[in-house]
Structures are given as C-alpha cells and as structure tokens.
Amino acid sequence: MKKLLAILLSVVMLLSFAACAKEKTPENPVIRMSTTTSVNDSGLLSYLLPYFEDATGYTVEVQSAGTGAAIQKAKDGNADLILVHSKASEEEFVSEGYGVERIPFMYNYFVVVGPKSDPAGVKGSESAAAAFAKIADAKANFVSRGDDSGTHKAELKIWGDNVPDSKSDSWYISAGQGMGACLTMASEKGAYCLTDKATFLANANSLELEIVLSEGEDMKNTYSLIECNPEKLDGVNTEGARALIEWMTGKECSELIAKYGEEQYGSALFYLIEE
C-alpha cells in the first residue's frame, strides 16, 4: 500500500513539473467556447484544438448545445467566443451588442440523405428546394430537426413558403432532437433528412441511408466565429478569444482543416473561406 502511494505521489509530482515546464502560460489560460452540436459531433474541434493548446498554453473548454442554447449561454456571460452556423442569429447577436464582429471562416455543404430506394425520386434534383418539392409531392417521410438549430433554420429556408405542417402532414416528422438522433430516426422510418455532411459521414455505418443530393447552391453551410463583447459582458477572456480566432483563421489551422476527413472519408469535410 505504501509503495503504491509513493508511486502515485511521484507520478503526480512529475506531472506537475511537466505542467510547469510549459514555456509560456497566459495570464488567463482558460478560453470558453460555446458551439453547436454539429461542430462538436464532427470531431473537428478535438482534432484542431490540441495544436492550438500546445502552441500557446491556453486551455479551451468547449461547451456544445443547440445553436439557440449555444448563443444564449454566451449572452448569459458563460463564454468568451462562439462558433456557430446560423447567419440571422449571429447577426442578431452582434447587433444586440453581445458579439464584437461576425467572422465567417469556413463552410461545407448540407446534404439530403434518404433511403437507398429513393421513393420520391430525389436523386439528380437541381437544388435542395427542388428535392424538397418532390418529397412533399410524394408525401415521403421527412425528419426535421424542429429545434431552432442552425440546420433546422437552413431547412426552413429551403422549404421557403411551403413549410409542411407537422400537425396535419403526418409524413413531416418534427423530432426536436440533435442531428445524430434525427438521422437514426430517419433510418428507422425510411425517411429523408437534411444534415451536415460531417455528422452524416461520422454515423453512416450504422444508418440505412445514403446521400441522395449534395452540393446544391442552396445547401451551403457557413460557420462563423464571434468574439464576445467585453463591454457588454463581464469576465470575458478577450485576450484568449482573440488569440484563438487569430489562430483559427491563420495559415496553420487552414492547412489542418483542409486535411481533416481526407484520410477517413476520402474528401475534406470543411472548406476555408478564401479572402
């Protein structure tokens, strides 16, 4: 027992020496990032952030929730910056004074996924809007996020004036859940679904679904970084937030993002916005 304790103690001490040995530790080393589930579920941040943390000595605490909750948490003063994908909500966040500036920095495409048999004949549609019209005509099952998330808002925008009524149109299923749960439900019900490509590919093995439409012009999905405004919110780690934004929009990170997904899925999952 004593031996074990001695070993444990020395391990702890060694670890704390190692922690001290880090070259520079910023004054306020914790950065709180509030982001959406789709960013977090794709695995991008857990791939990128260790590079940033090693280089700078910061620790980034990532909180993920639906876009609405992610923004609300920042408004309540519980974040230093946000990374989300819902333009209208982002602009509101900035115009209300909570955010400093909206910095769009990467994008990818939403895809329409559905059963392999493609009962509504969506394959080959020109745009997501055309595909949705076919689904509505065929009254084929469609699972909607229904949770005010960035993906849900993008879906509503594609429906335009023809948003189905989840009460009377029984084929339109408003699930009110995260992307992963909605994809599982679509697979179970043989339904179509609008999803970000990264989450779909990460879960594709367990789903009876395939991509039936990708890369339509109305399916672009832009991600932005916004630094929280220290004049409006107390306790914001402005220095940390700026360092992270600078790094994420810089050259090293852009190369990392371009490589992400290449190995596992054969194509990049996110693209940098060229200035």
Binding site: A65, D148, Q177, M185, K189
Partner: protein, 216 residues
C-alpha cells in the same frame, strides 16, 4: 411553441403515458411485492437485492434496451412500435416495476407477520390474506403508486430515446423542456417545468382525497 393547443396536447400525452405506466407497473409489481414480502423462501434475499439494484437502472439504459428490442431489425421490430407512446410505456414499466416490487415488498414484510397470524386464526384463504394485506396498507400503497407516477412523469432519458420527442405525437413535458432548453429558451423551459410540477401536485391531491374518502 403554439401555446394553447400544442401545450394541451403535450400535457395529454404526458398524462396518458404516466397513467398507463403507473397502472401497468402497479398491476404487475404490487402482487409480486406482496407475494415476496409475505412468504419465507430460499433466495428471497437475492430477489430483494436484485430489485434494489434494478431500482438504480439508469433510464437511458432502459431506453436503450427497449430501443434495441423494437428497432426495425430487432426481435420485436415487426410490431412497428418504435417512436410511439406504447413503447414509451414499455420502457417506463421496465424502470418502475422494480421500484414498485421493492417498496411493496418492504411494506408487506413489516406488517405481514402479525396479520398472517390473525388471518390464520380466522381461517382465511391465501388469496383473502393477500387482499387483507393490501387493504390494511392503503396509505403506504398510495405512496408506492405516487412514487411510480412521479418517476414516470419526470423521466426524460428513456422516453426521448424510444419516443423520439416527435411533435404532435410522442412529445411529453420533459422532452419539451429539454427541447426548449436546447433552443436557448431557458425561462420558457422553466415555466414548463413549473407546469409539470403543478400537474404532479394536482394528481397528488386527487390521489390522497380518493384514499381518504375510501377510509371514511
């Protein structure tokens, strides 16, 4: 959320689900609890430990098991019950039956000895003795029922997994609260939580009034 009609619909589904979960769990769990409690047999302690352990079954795990059973290619997939209120009741029964058995059993054990002796003296049949046990413990049984109901109405992990939180179909108060929280409508979510508590309060009042009336 459309306040009037949708909220009422959600409350309706919540009450329907909780009612059936409670009734079915009590119908199965109470007789078993009385049976175990009043008899002396080998393995009784093991059963007690087992029900005690199952009382701590995490709702998500119960949901997961029921999900695996009712998924499209699962053993019961052909029933097409996934994402319905029925399957939510099944998942909840899995959670609540052990609670009902365990509580009923403990309650019976305390009172059984004396009562059984009396019943023997009066030459009661086994069934009659069991019924006597139940009726003599009405107050305690009521709290078992209310515990079952409380667990059912407040549960979120299992019902969101197997029910799917589908609007106008399987959305209940707890999953609606979860949804509003995810949307960032924290104060509205809290308001829904207060409504849920009020519903629980009304049910408690009705239940205890029912028992009191019965006793008078």
């Amino acid at each position: 959320m459309n306040m009037d009609s949708e909220l009422l619909q959600i409350i309706g589904v919540t009450l329907r689900m909780s009612f059936f979960s409670t009734v079915i769990s009590c119908l199965i769990g109470m007789p078993l609890g009385v049976l175990i409690g009043k008899s002396v047999f080998k393995g009784k302690r093991t059963i007690k430990k087992l029900t005690g352990t199952l009382m701590g079954l995490p709702p998500v795990v119960a949901g997961l098991i029921v999900y695996m059973l009712f998924t499209k290619y699962g053993p019961f997939g052909s029933f097409g019950l996934l994402f319905t209120v029925e399957v939510m009741v099944i998942a909840q029964c899995m959670l609540i039956i052990p609670v009902v058995i365990n509580l009923t059993e403990s309650m019976t054990e305390i009172n059984a000895k004396k009562l059984i002796e009396t019943a023997k003296g009066l030459n009661f049949s086994k069934l009659k003795t069991s019924l006597l046990l139940l009726s003599e413990n009405k107050q305690s049984l009521l709290s078992v029922v209310l515990t079952a109901f409380g667990r059912s109405i407040a549960e979120v992990g299992a019902v969101s997994l197997v029910g799917g939180n589908i609007q106008w179909k399987t959305r209940v108060m707890t999953t609606a609260i979860m949804l509003e929280t995810n949307k960032g409508n924290f104060s509205f979510a809290l308001a829904l939580g207060i409504i849920l508590l009020l519903i629980s309060f009304v049910v408690n009042i009705l239940a205890s009034a029912l028992v009191r009336e019965d006793e008078e």
